[in-house]
């Protein structure tokens, strides 16, 4: 008796289970999306998910988060290698993307209908062996100098077009008792900006640098125009233009000093606009932006970064639903959805998306470089697959005076070799 009772219970349970799960599964597909948990990314993703689910009632999107930076790199690479990646994930384009072994781990999106509306620069940044694997998640970014417009107004300064003018401005700012250049090495990644943002000036002088560098022929230490970025980092410190607490200040401190008018310049990527909006929204109008100045006033241009890409893992069991989410991101609706939460921080890479009229000055300052006739170049990490992982340590050393620029650059060249070998590039 007991046995039959148990069996019938099991049968009922099984039926109940099928009854609950069966039809629901037929109606609704659930896909997972792994985003970075940074305050700039997560709210935008939540907004997009809400809008996407409203437009696609058959699909439910579960968000998963990961840390940003190199800890996030670990998670992405490990989950891809163990085939446990979320269906959709967002991750850097450019050299970091290429290290993911896209041909093996990602779904080829070259043939998707929306791909025709994507900017070619971006396609290059998420392309591998002639195939394209990602959609742009966010707007174009740039590296350069954030500056405090109020300080410029008060001291009667002009936006510098050459490094000489920049240093002359710094001198006046210092005499006025303010910090000319903010540096924040407690967040080591912020120390790289003066080197990376100098790439427009580098490629203007040595147009073949990216190709030669990838082939192992050109080196930072042996190319004066490339070494210049490291030297600029050294020069601002030697001239005494850097805030005294540079070693312990963090990224958020840097933005605060800039917004409060304690410091005049902060070399930074325009991703910082989001953080400014969140924390210094009252002073957002006081902040402007200019490209990192080089030697030639007539050839003053901007080093541009591509946004992170949105990819589909090859291990996904819901590729059709995942493709719909990616297509949504790559449409005007996706851009609007993002705009509503985080606002536009630069020009879009989806052709049908347009910027709202009322952008803050720091975004408006960016736009002329992107216009026809404007001068811009993609950052080195988008035109070459190699970026040495220890750059931020070397730039902290050079910027803190632990090591001179030439030595830091030479050690960085050695660091790059490992990346090139790991990728199996010829010539190394």
């Amino acid at each position: 008796m007991k046995k039959t009772q148990r069996t019938s219970l099991l049968v009922i349970a099984a039926l109940a289970f099928a009854g609950v799960v069966g039809p629901a599964a037929a109606q609704k597909t659930t896909i997972t999306w792994l985003v970075s948990s940074s305050p700039a990314d997560l709210p935008a993703a939540e907004g997009i998910v809400a809008d996407f689910q409203a437009a696609n009632p058959g699909i439910k999107v579960d968000l998963e988060t990961r840390p940003s930076g190199s800890e996030g790199d670990n998670i992405i690479k490990t989950r891809l290698a163990t085939k446990t990646m979320a269906d959709v994930f967002t991750y850097n384009s450019g050299s970091l993307f290429r290290a993911l072994n896209p041909g093996r781990n990602l779904v080829d999106l070259t043939g998707e209908p929306w791909m025709a509306g994507i900017n070619d620069y971006f396609k290059q940044a998420v392309g591998f062996n002639g195939r394209v694997y990602g959609a742009p998640y966010g707007t174009s970014m740039a590296g350069g100098i954030f500056y405090n417009r109020k300080i410029y107004e008060k001291l009667g300064l002009k936006v510098p077009k050459t490094w000489g003018e920049f240093m002359a401005n710094n001198d006046k700012i210092k005499k006025a008792g303010l910090i000319p250049v903010i540096q924040t090495y407690a967040d080591p990644w912020t120390s790289q900006v003066l080197v990376l943002s100098d790439f427009y000036n580098l490629q203007a002088q040595v147009p073949t640098f990216a190709a030669d560098y990838t082939a192992g022929k050109a080196k930072y230490a042996k190319t004066p125009a490339a070494l210049s970025g490291f030297e600029k980092l050294q020069k601002v410190r030697e001239a005494g233009y850097v805030n005294p607490d540079f070693a312990s200040a963090k990224f958020a401190d840097g933005l605060r000093m800039l917004a409060e008018g304690k410091g005049a310049h902060y070399p930074m990527l325009t991703t910082a606009i989001n953080a400014l909006k969140n924390n210094q929204s009252a002073q957002l109008g006081d902040i402007g932006f200019f490209a990192q100045p080089g030697d030639d006033a007539a050839n003053n241009g901007l080093t541009v970064w591509m946004p992170v890409g949105m990819y589909i893992a090859a291990s996904s069991s819901n590729i059709p639903a995942a493709k719909r989410l990616v297509a949504f991101i790559a449409s005007a609706k996706g851009c609007e959805s993002r705009d509503r939460v985080v606002g536009a921080t630069g020009p879009y890479l989806v052709k049908e998306c347009t910027l709202p009229k009322d952008v803050p000055p720091v975004v408006a300052d960016l736009l002329p470089y992107f216009d026809k006739g404007g001068k811009m170049a993609l950052a080195l990490e988008f035109v070459s697959p190699i970026k040495g992982p220890a750059l931020q340590q070397f730039t902290v050393e050079v910027g803190s005076g632990i090591r001179p620029a030439a030595e830091g650059a030479a050690l960085y060249d050695e660091d790059v070799r490992k990346q090139a070998q790991q990728l199996g590039l010829p010539g190394w």
Partner: protein, 304 residues
């Protein structure tokens, strides 16, 4: 291991007397333990020895011979990391011995609130290393940290604990000592409690002062405890990683990098073969230093 090895006299005396008796339990009782040990310890050890000879992307491994080791030993910061690792191990184990011994003497003597003090000293051992690291990073902030505020209140300009490249490693070592000294103290207290009171009595009758009692009775008879503390904290110091990573990430620049953090950075960069080779090097280094150290310390003890 060392704790057991350091008390050989009483147990071995019993065994030496009779012939080795056959165990009543069959040998295959070892099997479950052997399987677990094989799968979770031996297999990873041998497979890492293999992967250290490859360029590994997690998907595929290309055999490249000893190139990873050559590359790892060419790392510009490996030498610095090595020196830092040894410095860290020597400084922390030295300070733990000295402070642990002093605290052990203090806490075995008749003082007020002895039990409470013992708990206070031991408490940091129980706290998560990451939590300790984050807390001290805040306390050691050069301008806003509580330590420098306190120093400023008595007129001492506090140093930039974690951001001065010359100080960063030592600051982390200090925190490690703060966190680990409780364990050393407990080991010393146990060691001292095992010293028979008769020796002290005899020494007192011979007219030995308190200090002489410490020097001629406590110190030599505490040797097993000292050996344990040195070995444990030296090995702990050699493979220290979590505190260094939480507090400085090896920075500023590379100034507080230890071998384990150099390896971790290679791993983060996706150089899996290279970082595995680094781990093999670290394994050999720890074994190469700790085994002779432990043998040396234990042999000395045997002479008594």
């Amino acid at each position: 291991m060392t704790a057991a090895a350091s008390h050989p006299t009483p147990t071995s005396a019993v065994k030496v007397g009779g012939k080795k008796r056959k165990s009543p339990y069959p040998g295959w009782f070892y099997l479950p333990a052997a399987v677990i040990y094989g799968v979770f310890f031996l297999l990873p050890t041998f497979s890492s020895a293999y992967y250290s000879l490859t360029r590994w992307t997690l998907d595929e491994a290309t055999f490249i011979g000893l190139e990873n080791f050559a590359q790892f030993l060419r790392e510009p910061f490996l030498v610095q990391g090595l020196i830092n690792t040894l410095t860290f191990a020597v400084v922390t184990s030295g300070m733990k011995v000295v402070l642990g011994l002093a605290l052990g003497v203090l806490l075995t003597s008749e003082i007020v609130a002895r039990g409470w003090l013992r708990s206070v000293i031991f408490f940091p051992v129980l706290v998560s290393t990451i939590g300790v690291g984050i807390t001290f990073t805040v306390l050691m902030h050069p301008t806003e940290g509580m330590i420098n505020h306190a120093l400023a209140a008595v007129g001492i300009p506090g140093p930039a604990w974690l951001t001065n490249p010359k100080l960063a490693l030592l600051s982390v070592a200090l925190v490690d000592v703060w966190k680990g000294v409780g364990l050393a103290t407990i080991i010393f207290i146990a060691g001292m409690a095992a010293i028979p009171v008769d020796y002290y009595e005899a020494a007192r009758i011979d007219g030995a002062s308190k200090f002489e009692q410490f020097l001629h009775v406590t110190l030599p008879l505490c040797r097993p405890a000292t050996v344990t503390v040195i070995t444990l904290s030296f090995i702990g110091g050699l493979k220290s990683f979590d505190l260094v990573w939480t507090m400085t990430k090896g920075g500023p620049g590379f100034s507080s990098d230890v071998i384990a953090s150099v390896i971790y950075k290679q791993y983060q960069a996706g150089f899996y073969g290279l970082s595995t080779a680094g781990n093999v090097v670290l394994f050999i280094l720890i074994a190469g230093l700790a085994v002779p150290l432990s043998m040396f310390l234990n042999r000395k003890e045997g002479h008594e």
